[in-house]
Amino acid sequence: MKRIFLFLSLLLISLDADARIGLVTLPRREAVQLTIYNSADLTLVRERRTLTLAKGKNRLEFSWANTLIDPTSVQFDAVSNTDKVELIDISFPAQAPNALVWTIESEVSGEVIVEISYFTSGLTWSADYEATADKGGKKLSLNSFVKATNNSGEDYDGAQVRLIVGTIHLVEDISELANRGARPIPPPVLNRARAMMMPEAVASSVGLGGRFSADSEEPPEIIREGLSEYFIYTVSGEHSVPNTWAVRWPNFSQSDIDIENFYRYEEGRYNEPRRFFKLKNDEAHKLGKEPLPDGRIEVFQVREDGTRAFLGKTISKYVPVGEWWEIDLGADPDVIVKPKLMRREIDDVEFDSDGDPSGWKVIETWLIEVLNSRTDAIAIEIDRNFDGDFTLSQNVEKEKYDFDTVRFKRSLGGGESEKIEYTVTYRKGTLIKR
């Protein structure tokens, strides 16, 4: 609450003869709703407070100092007595930086419920995933969490939290509008009672999953619904999201998901073969109820002795419903791919009327050595890129991936190796056919 008074120092002052007649301490927020977008640094804050207004003109001071609130977005609306309470003027007091004073004309004397809404930056959310593959790498258990991080300069207690998945368009960043070049660094807030909250750095390093509020045994429910091009997660209940803290809630869990376990190598893109888990965000894979928001994923695999081995941590991109999801587990030194150029020759040279070469063919023979020094079998995709007009030898198993990429798919048992040899012919100059 202390921070709230610092931020929203609202004073009710009668304008009568410029004397401060009724200096009223602002009551605490009765309700606050945070709608946090993950595609932009943007949060809509809507809060309700009950003010005691005097009949006539009242003054109300609103300060956005030390926060990242966009002052142009601040809106004041009466919820009760709507036709009797009107905002008639805004002025800027000299004695407070980043503050405005609302002049409110009230036809009634007494309590009036008001809603104050504004956009702020510094409040973000992302998804956290924890995936565990079985011993054979065929099935996956997936736990999903959503994490809100507050660096807005303001504490939000008892907040209803809504998280938006989807892309929105902003002309200007709210952080720029709010406090360009002058953002203060607020001190950290420590509170032992808030067992579910921890500073961002700590939360990411310990990787805790599914820890809930100290005053509640049950985790909050995440209600998911689609709205136009957006998807909304509403976190049930009210939550504290203090400044400089991250708060994480469990989203969904799904086990027994079929996965493909494969390796991919592409010279220039990956220096070494990389291991991937592949699954589709659809019903066949026991998913597909919603898009999977971007975030971080930690991947484990169950070992022979039943313990879990950490395979890696990576960034996951937004996965729409019906799309494939490839989880990059990083390079594996036990799988080796070595492409070698064995022969290169120039043939079928044509000359123009001046006797200069105008067209020719370049013929290259390549040998790709693939070695699986693991004890289990693997599937591997080797992508080769070719420039210009080219033809590949017909006697090698391959598939065309796109106009200049050919993919060689192979399966190798534990300890096996294979050699892939192909010849590519490039047509140059006047010999180019396409």
Binding site: P71, V74, F92, N98, T103, L177, G181, A182
Partner: protein, 168 residues
């Protein structure tokens, strides 16, 4: 042999000129950026109101000095905010005309912006408070002519609507 005074005199003149330049012309002392001056000013500004409701005049003067050092920042928003802050300090020192002069800069630096509207409203209100009713009216008219036709958020629209009433 007659001593040639020209070289020592030239060196002395250059030394004095260099010292004068360092003292008077360099707006930002080494190591302190205009953004830091602005932060200091805002920090002081937030503390000028004592608990008993009186104004701490020393902090007002210090804040004014810090705002002035940030006035010509290359970040236009920072510069505009510094002019607004300096004007507010001038008001607290009782110098309305200096405040108005500061605020007039804002609409030149950030025309059409919220900060500009804020400064123009402050100018009009200060003139009205100072008894310059006709001048204030002109500024209210200026606000309506510059912002009246725009699609504005409530925070700006209310200002424009209230100034319409002040024009009459």
């Amino acid at each position: 042999m007659k001593f040639d005074y020209r070289l020592p005199v030239l060196i002395a003149v250059l030394a004095v000129a260099s010292a004068y330049y360092n003292v008077t012309r360099r707006a930002v002392p080494p190591g302190i950026t205009q953004e830091e001056h602005f932060k200091r000013a805002e920090e002081l500004h937030s503390k000028i109101l004592r608990e008993d409701g009186s104004i701490d005049k020393n902090k007002v003067r210090e804040a004014l000095a810090e705002y002035k050092l940030a006035l010509d920042a290359s970040d236009l928003r920072l510069s505009a905010k510094s002019h607004i802050g300096a004007g507010q300090m001038n008001i607290l020192e009782g110098d309305t005309s200096a405040a108005i002069a500061e605020w007039k800069n804002v609409s030149v630096i950030l025309p059409g912006d919220f900060e500009s509207l804020r400064a123009m409203k402050s100018i009009a209100d200060a003139m009205k408070e100072n008894g310059q009713k006709e001048d204030a009216k002109e500024w209210y008219k200026k606000i309506v002519s510059e912002f009246g036709d725009s699609k504005l958020p409530q925070a700006m629209k209310v200002i424009v609507n209230s100034t319409r009433k002040e024009m009459n």
